[in-house]
Structures are given as C-alpha cells and as structure tokens.
C-alpha cells in the first residue's frame, strides 16, 4: 500500500511540477514562416510572415504580414505579435532576412539567434532591399509563402555554386555568405 501511495505522490508531483498549465492548442498559434529584421532610426523593425491555410489546406498559399517596432529586437517581435490574431510561433521560421543596417548590430542579432536555438538550421540572408518588400509575394502564381520559396531558392543557389549553406549557425560564425541585391538577385556577399 505504501508503495502504491509513494508512486502516486511521485506521479502527482511530476505532473504538478511539469508545465501542463502552460500548453496551448496548436490552433491557437500563428505559424511564422519567415522573419525579416532591420534597424532604422534607432529602432528595430521586425516583419513576420504568417502562413495561413487556404480552403484547400495548402499551407502557405495565403500569408499575412505583421510588423512591429521597438528599441530592442525582442520588443519589435513582441509588438508584431500584438498585431497578430493568435500567438506568434517563430521557432519554425524557415527564413531570416537581415537588413544591411541590422548587420551592424551583431551583438543583438547573436543574442536573438541564440535564444531561438531550436531553429539553427533556418536560412539566413542579408538584404540591401527593404525587408518588407522581400517578404511580400510578388507573383500571383506563387503557390507558397514567399519565405518558403525564397529559402529553397537560396539553398539551391548555394548548392549550385558550392557555397556553404546559409544556416543560422554559419551566419553566427562568419556573418552570412548570401545576400539579396538591390535588383532582387541572390548573390554571394563580397565580404563573405
């Protein structure tokens, strides 16, 4: 009897001490497929591409964009999240677009990526263009969210040219190897 009671107590403690109250249903989250960040006028800007299911459940064929600004990157993301209907889920983002100005703030960027440690294999690209413009879909015929298709294009570009894969890990190591020019072309960064 004592054995059963002690097993019960251990189990109860385990349940109480675990984070069961915190969990949220997956439908309460907005899944972010890509994040673009930049630094302008002493403020961070974060734009998140949120994938939405269409009537055919083709995830990513519809997307909405939420933008937030703040004095830190975390603030900017938080403010972007406030504009979203549901909770923003950023840990599965496939693409990070880093603006040219933001590259100067490497310490804050590193902190940001280290916190998002579950996503170290996402693609990072630097951009000379306006970050918002890069994430917005251009062609109507595009079947997936821009960040998903752009991430694939960048990977294919690196593979084709024998460059290192532009993962977060590599970005943290050498500051990134691939960028998007003013003309919207994917190219190897000169300083890489």
């Amino acid at each position: 009897m004592i054995k059963k009671i002690s097993v019960g107590i251990v189990l109860l403690l385990f349940i109480v001490l675990s984070s069961f109250i915190k969990y949220k249903d997956i439908s309460k989250y907005d899944i972010v497929s890509g994040i673009a960040v930049d630094f302008e006028d002493d403020k961070w800007t974060a734009v998140c591409e949120v994938c939405l299911p269409s009537s055919t459940n083709d995830f990513g064929s519809r997307a909405e964009y939420v933008k937030g600004t703040g004095f830190t990157l975390a603030d900017a993301l938080y403010n972007a999240g406030l504009k979203s209907t549901n909770i923003l889920y950023t840990e599965s983002a496939q693409l990070y677009v880093i603006g040219e100005n933001a590259l100067q703030k490497s310490d804050e960027l590193e902190t940001f990526f280290m916190r998002e440690d579950s996503n170290l294999r996402a693609t990072v690209v630097t951009s000379q263009q306006n970050i918002e413009k890069i994430l917005q879909k251009e062609k109507e015929g595009e079947t997936r969210a821009k960040s998903l298709s752009l991430a694939e294009k960048i990977k294919a570009f690196c593979k084709q040219n024998g460059y290192d894969m532009p993962h977060v890990m590599n970005f943290l190591k050498d500051g990134g190897s691939v960028g998007i020019s003013n003309d919207g072309l994917i190219e190897r960064r000169v300083d890489a």
Binding site: V7, L11, F14, I15, S18, S19, F20, Y23, K24, D25, I26, S27, Y29, I31, S33, C51, P53, N57, D58, F59, G60, Y89, E91, S92, Q94, S118, N119
Partner: protein
C-alpha cells in the same frame, strides 16, 4: 455420506434429491433369470447416451444370469468398461447430475456408476480466435474428453498426466490439470492444484472464471495466464514444462506460467520458416509499443514540443487544425472513444454486417468528419494507425486500451517527459508481475541465459535446445547439450 443398506431408501433419496426435475428417471428392472433381485437405474434423460444405456446396461441387467451380489453384477451385468463401484451417495447424486447412470442392486450399501454421458457436442473445428495459415485446423470443443484426446494425440506418452478436479458447488464442473511428469516442475503442479482447491464458488462457467480466481496480480489489466483454443499450442506449452487446465464446457484451456513474450507468439511462428516468421513477430512487438507511443508522442509534440516537428509537418498539422472546434486533446480522446465503439460493435456483429460497419465507420464516418471540420485529418490518421497497431496483438488489446489512455494523459500534462515516465512505469509494472510465481519478464533478465531462443526472434527449431529453468528442472530438450 454412504449409501443406505436399503434399496427403497436409496431410490427414495435420489427421488427426493431430484424432486421437481422431470428429466430425472428411476427405472425398476426385472432380471429374467432371477426376478426377485431388486434392480433400478437412475439417470438424467437428456444427458445420457440412450444407446449405451439400453444396449449395455438395461439388456444385460435383464438378460444376464446375475445374483444380488453387486460385485458379480459389475462383472456380468454391465457391458461398459467405465463401470465402477461408488460408496458415497452424494458423489452418486453428482454423477447422475453430470450424465452418469447409477445402478442399484438389492440392499447393497454401494451402487454401480457408469459413464454414459451422451450430450451433443460441437465438431472439432479450427478456432476463430487463433487462426493459422499452415498449422493444423483443430480446436478444443466444449467436451473435456474430446479436448483431452486432441492433446493426447500429440503427446503420446504415459508421462502426460491428466488429474481431474471438480469445482463449483452448484455447477460441479469437471476440469483436468494436465502436465508432463518429469518435464513440469513439481512445485508448479502442486502450486496450481493448491490454488484450484482454494477456489470456493457456486459456478465455474469458463476457464476465465478459474483464471481470475487463481492468477497472480489479480487486479492487473495485463494477462498473467495463457489461454488457448488450440491443442497444438497447448501440447507444445506442456512440453516446455508448463501446466495446463482444461475445463468441461469451455473451448479454451489455460496454461501457467505465462510470460509476457508469449503475447507476441502465434502458432504460425512455428509452422513457417523462422526467417519469415520472425518478420511477423518483430512487427507485432513494434506494433504493440507504437500503438500507445505514437498517439502519446503526437499529442506531446503538438502540445508541448512543436519546435521538434519538421516545419512541413507543423504547417500541415496547423492547417488541418484550422476551424476544428474541439481542442486536440479532446479530439484524440473522442476519436479513440469512437474507435473503441466501432471495434466493440464489429466484434459482436455477424461477419457480413461487420464488414459494412467497418466501411461505414472507417471510411464514410472518418472522411465525413474530416470534411465537416469536426476533427482534423492528422488526428484521424494517428488514431486509425494506433488502433490498427493495437489489434496486432489480440492478447493485449485490453491492456493497450488502458496503457494508451494513461500515456495520452501523461503526454497531455507533461509532454515527452511524461511519456518517458509513463513508459518507465509500465516497465516497472511488468517487471513486478508474475505468473504462478514466475516473473513474466523472466526472459529479459540475466538469469535466462539459456532458453532465449524464442523471444524477440525465434531461432530455428534445431537450435531450441533448452526449456526455461523456472518451469522445468529438466531443461535439456534436444540436441547435444
């Protein structure tokens, strides 16, 4: 109580005992050579073989030159080999109730009891619950003698012992304790007999009644007794040193001890080439564990560890969840509820209706529910997959239900650590369980060095040289050891 020294008192006792039972008959006979001898037979009409009674009892008693000495009647007046003297009047009443015929001769304080049981019985046929592709198509039926003969046919040795025991105050059910002398451990046989003798009940309706009385870990949802309807399986278990119980009126027999790995063994494992048979066994083992780990893992990942899901899966699951009104936890429990309802309904239905039910339940209902956005497609897939996996091991389908329920709860409240803790608790539970005193996980222990040739994999027959030590002192089975 002994029989009376009076013909009238003895017959009167039986008339009183069976008063109100119109099937009971006492017939007074006259011997044509010695008409002064008082002869009567007592029997139950519906339970005896009329031919045997007329031809082998009534005609000899009436026509043979017998005296009123009961021993001479036993020799001359009954043409049935099973005839024997009975001293105890209460035993006589039980014998008549179970289909024997009792013969009263004069004022003798004994009676002759003759086995004349002639109840209709089902033909020997392949059991539905343990189908075999290549093996014999014979199954036990409800007649204990037929069932024992099917075992004896496979183990033709005088070492095969069948000890009869009567259980149930009202049902007086006959059962046989079967074992092979010199192979089964004597302590095991004695333990089983002691446990059987300790049963005090009115009625034994099936071997499951016995199992629930005598099994170890009585409250556990995991089986600690073997149950089979196949004489070939029963015989092979006896040859491994196990002890069996066959009950009159039940088409399934019990075997003790029962190890956990036996849940994953099927008759065809031994009738097919071992390489082919092992595929099935491994699939069953994997299927059992996946049947509760997959839904628990799915729930844990979608609730607590979304970042561990590949992004494509996450997008897909998230997309399918859009517009579904119930939370994913409730959805999983509801779907499993529906699955169990369909399974239970299908079990009791005739096969033709069962097929239609499966089509309606699985395809139409599932598809319609997904289309109507009542449930999400990934949940339906997970529930269907795990439900089918759970049915791969029929012996554990009840256990799987409870394990799955517990795992789902733990996954909901604690995520993957909860699933891990639940799995560890299950292993601890299994390691604590025993069957006739033998740990059911014995084969996984360090002590079972010999005889591991039939666990996760079945070795070729010529390499299965040993019996298990806890069952048998005589572990050498074959080959050069």
């Amino acid at each position: 109580m002994r029989f009376f020294n009076s013909f009238e008192k003895n017959t009167e006792h039986f008339r009183n005992s069976f008063a109100g039972d119109d099937l009971f008959t006492i017939k007074i006979l006259k011997n044509e050579h010695n008409p002064d001898i008082k002869i009567a037979i007592a029997l139950n009409n519906c339970m005896v073989n009329s031919d045997v009674v007329n031809r082998d009892i009534i005609i000899p008693l009436c026509q043979m030159p017998i005296t009123d000495d009961i021993n001479s009647v036993l020799e001359l007046g009954v043409f049935v080999f099973s005839a024997k003297l009975c001293d105890d009047i209460d035993t006589g009443v039980i014998n008549v109730a179970s289909g024997d015929t009792l013969i009263f001769i004069g004022d003798a304080d004994k009676a002759i009891t003759v086995d004349t049981k002639g109840m209709k019985q089902r033909d020997v046929s392949a059991p539905d619950t343990e189908q075999s592709v290549q093996g014999p198509a014979e199954g036990f039926n409800e007649n204990i003698v037929t069932s024992l003969s099917l075992v004896k046919k496979r183990v033709m040795t005088s070492a095969l012992k069948n000890e009869f025991v009567t259980l149930g105050k009202q049902s007086n059910s006959r059962l046989a304790v079967c074992y092979i002398e010199g192979v089964a451990k004597k302590e095991l046989v004695d333990e089983l007999k002691n446990r059987l003798n300790s049963i005090e009940t009115d009625y034994i309706g099936d071997t499951n009644y016995i199992a629930e009385f005598i099994r170890d870990n009585k409250t556990s949802f995991i089986k600690t007794y073997g149950r089979t309807s196949r004489p070939d399986v029963f015989a092979s278990k006896l040859l491994e040193g196990r002890v069996g119980v066959i009950l009159n009126g039940s088409p399934s027999a019990l075997t003790f001890p029962y190890l956990f790995i036996e849940n994953f063994q099927t008759p065809d494992d031994y009738y097919l080439n071992c390489w082919y048979a092992n595929i099935g066994r491994i699939l069953r083992l994997i299927g059992f564990y996946l049947s509760f780990l997959v839904p628990a893992g799915f729930l844990a990942l979608t609730l607590h560890h979304m970042s561990m899901l590949p992004p494509e899966w996450l997008y897909s699951i998230s997309a399918s969840r859009m517009g579904v009104p119930v939370p994913i936890v409730l959805e999983m429990f509801l779907l499993f509820g529906v699955f169990e309802i369909l399974r239970e309904t299908g079990t009791r239905m005739p096969s033709s209706i069962g097929l239609a039910l499966n089509v309606v339940g699985a395809i139409i209902l599932g598809q319609a529910a997904v289309d109507a956005k009542l449930v999400s497609a990934p949940s339906v897939i997970v529930v269907a997959f795990s439900g089918v996996m759970g049915l791969m091991v029929p012996n554990l389908k009840g256990a799987v239900f409870y394990i799955r329920l517990a795992m789902l709860l733990l996954a909901t409240v604690s995520g993957l650590p909860g699933v891990f803790v639940g799995f560890m608790l299950l292993l601890i539970l299994l390691c604590n369980m025993s069957s006739m005193g033998v740990p059911i996980m014995y084969l996984y222990s360090f002590f079972a060095k010999k005889g591991r040739s039939d666990t996760f994999f079945r070795a070729p027959i010529y390499k299965m040289n040993y019996r298990q030590k806890p069952f048998s002192d005589n572990i050498k089975r074959q080959g050069r050891v």
